[in-house]
């Protein structure tokens, strides 16, 4: 290679690297800078035209008028001027004093920070307790006792606070006993975060080895109200037994089973629904010898299956001469072959265990060529081909709308079903329109849709403004 070619190559490399470095300073091709008391906006022409047009739209500049704005030095409605237009970039400018809007409340501006709501308890599907000494236990009267050993001077105040009482700092005072303080409360199954408040100070449970971060930078103690116990008989000589399943993404649990008389046991909390699982005995994966329900997965591995919770019976009347229909829904990613129904005298049936919640489903006929809604279910969502039957398991809220002249259809739409345009249809009964729905813990906003009009719940005094200069009804589930 000649020296000339070598130096030419070096120059190409140098300028190439320089171009890359300069490009790297831009953030997404749109850059803002304050110079003096003016705000400048630098727009990279490498961006897609859609992005550029969208940005110009926020500056009240029509893309086709860009050259005109530049030539005539016109200001847009929001005070932007076009300073420069060339092949590489567009430069816009406006006075800082021209920032739009005069907000009346500083808190509304904080939305820009994106500090949105965080979940208070992670979605635990499986878990169990690890205490160094007994600190939380179940009583015979179905209540749960939280105990805190206190030594030294009697505290002025001591409270129990957690996700079960919305972290109230005063709702649950603790009672003195011989060696400490206790509180007996009603707890639902599942995971609960908690802490003690002693003389105004937050304190984690010193005997609880389980901790969790609530994404607000706080660490909390965790208690699982257990609802199931796995048992493996025999294996007296085994050293370690662990559990893995669909509820743990097939990761073996940390602590392992407890050796008991006759075998090994693992009491735990398990989310309602149907689960696949296996035991791991000294490294060997085995199915549950006491459970006859075994199915193969996609890779041909055999897994044990069990279910927790109430069984719902899907029923399709008729179709006696048809091939076995299938139930497909939001609970199984609309799989058209997985859940085959069983024939009965009057039709077809499928028993299935589901966790509490709202689901949409359909019956699949003719080997996937025909999808129909449940003829016995008055509640649906959607229109035409996208119309599905709606099922609410363990509903905890009843919605009612009274009869009104001219009312042909009443639907319900809200946070719990992602505000569909059509909403869940209510069933027309003698006294009005009804539906039972499962609402999650926390706040739910909703509205009724009467024929096509969106209205507040007339029976609910709680409502708040929405972005359409109207109001949404509000309900809190605890």
């Amino acid at each position: 290679m000649s020296i000339k070619a070598f130096y030419k190559g070096l120059m190409v490399l140098f300028f190439g690297l320089l171009a890359l470095a300069l490009k790297g300073q831009k953030q997404g091709g749109i850059d803002y800078q304050i110079v003096g008391v003016d705000l400048y906006c630098y727009v990279d022409r490498d961006l897609s035209q859609t992005t550029i047009d969208s940005l110009l739209g926020t500056c009240d500049i029509k893309p086709e008028a860009l050259a005109l704005y530049h030539e005539k030095q016109i200001s847009s409605a929001s005070h932007w001027q076009v300073v420069e237009v060339n092949e590489q970039q567009i430069i816009l400018r406006k006075p800082l004093k021209g920032l739009e809007g005069k907000p009346k409340e500083q808190k509304t501006l904080m939305e820009v920070l994106g500090l949105g709501p965080k979940s208070f308890v992670d979605d635990y599907r499986f878990g169990y307790n690890v205490f160094s000494k007994p600190a939380v236990w179940e009583l015979d009267n179905s209540k749960t006792r939280f105990f805190l050993k206190v030594e030294g001077a009697k505290p002025e105040s001591i409270y129990l606070s957690g996700t079960f009482n919305q972290w109230s700092t005063s709702a649950c005072p603790m009672t003195a006993c011989d060696s400490g303080y206790y509180a007996d409360i009603n707890l639902g199954e599942g995971a609960h975060y908690y802490k003690y408040i002693v003389n105004g100070h937050w304190l984690m449970d010193p005997r609880n080895r389980l901790k969790a971060n609530d994404w607000e930078g706080n660490e909390n103690s965790v208690y699982f109200k257990e609802n199931y116990s796995f048992f493996l008989p025999g294996y007296k000589k085994a050293q370690k037994v662990h559990l893995a399943g669909s509820f743990s993404n097939w990761e073996p649990d940390n602590q392992g089973f407890i050796k008991v008389k006759g075998g090994w046991e693992r009491p735990c909390y398990l989310e309602e629904g149907t689960h696949a699982y296996k035991f791991i005995v000294d490294g060997e994966w085995i199915t549950d010898p006491t459970n006859p329900v075994i199915r193969k997965d996609e890779e041909g591995n055999e897994n044990s299956f069990m279910a927790i919770g109430d069984t719902f019976y899907f029923y399709l009347p008729g179709y006696k001469n048809a091939a076995a229909p299938v139930v497909a829904g939001s609970f199984n990613d609309w799989n058209p072959i997985e859940l085959k129904m069983t024939k009965t005298d009057s039709g077809w049936i499928l028993p299935y265990v589901l966790a509490p919640g709202n689901y949409e489903y359909k019956f699949v006929l003719e080997y996937g060529h025909k999808w129909i809604i449940d003829p016995n279910n008055p509640h649906t969502n959607g229109e035409g081909n996208t119309k599905n039957s709606v099922l609410s398991l363990n509903p905890n809220k009843h919605f009612f709308y009274p009869h009104k002249k001219g009312l042909e259809r009443v639907c319900l739409s809200g946070d719990f079903n992602a505000w569909p345009e059509n909403g869940y249809t209510l069933e027309k009964q003698a006294d009005g329109w009804h539906i039972d729905v499962h609402l999650p813990q926390g706040k739910t906003r909703y509205k009724f849709i009467l024929n096509e009009d969106w209205v507040r719940d007339p029976n609910n005094p709680l409502f708040e403004p929405n972005e359409y200069d109207d109001y949404n009804s509000v309900i809190w589930m605890k």
Partner: protein
Amino acid sequence: MKRFILLFLILFSSFASADDGLYFGRYNKRLMMQRPVPHGEFNRLVLPMKNIGNLIIVEAVVDGIRGNFIFDTGAPYLVLNQTYFRDYEEVPDMMATDVNGNQLNQKVTRVNKLKMLGMYYDNVEADVSDLSVIENRLGVQILGLLGVNLFMRMEIEIDFKGEQIIIYRVDRSGRRLDQPYEPKINEYRIPFELSNNAILVKAKINDQALTFCIDSGAEAILLNNDLPAPAYQDIRIIRRSTLLGAGNSRSEVLLGAIRCIDIGMSLSNRQVLIADLEAIGQAYGKHIEGFIGYDLLKEGSLCINFKTQELILNVY
């Protein structure tokens, strides 16, 4: 003496022109008169608090309704969330107005009892406002805001790290009745001015003297869009956003990072929001150039003494 001064002010204001209404100069009579008296057997009271989204949440009970309130030094008085207190009756003899005498479209009501652990107030006035935006953003039920006038007869210590607010009864000179304050090595003393219940301090950005409001409800530093040019030199703009409000109104906000702000102590590398704060400042009757809250509170335990009008920051 206080009663004499108050009587004098009321008489003087009555000789003002008919247009002035409830106004005396640029001071809101309602703010001047509303300093609720705290009751309870305490000289020192510890309120456990929760941090949610950089805000201070304290539990209180209003007429038997227990719930979360935002502890907000940027709010002049008690504010109730309209969603839950819509049916409270309006107080007919007290209009809500700004400092220029313009009547506000703001409902004012009265609560029989406001209680926070061992402390309570009787017959307290409150604004009723829409707090749904904050509530939806935080994801927890917010019954209202606890504003400055509830604490003006006392000293309050906000301990963010310790997750507690301590309330001290003080004498006329501002000395704690419980135990005298012991100066610490890592403390910063910052004098403040109280203007229409806003806690105002002097701050500096790039040697530019600015008026800031200490607002515990400010999750980031907020700057006005009309500061002198040198104040913006050390700010790098990250993003420009447009917030949509009621009636299709728009607010343009810049999110940036500031190199340094001196508020009696130096704070480095902080997030800032820049917007037109004119309407917000009007509510305080003063040209406010910035708001700061969380960024100061996370540095140390902050004591606010309304008698001596001094902040003491004990750095963690």
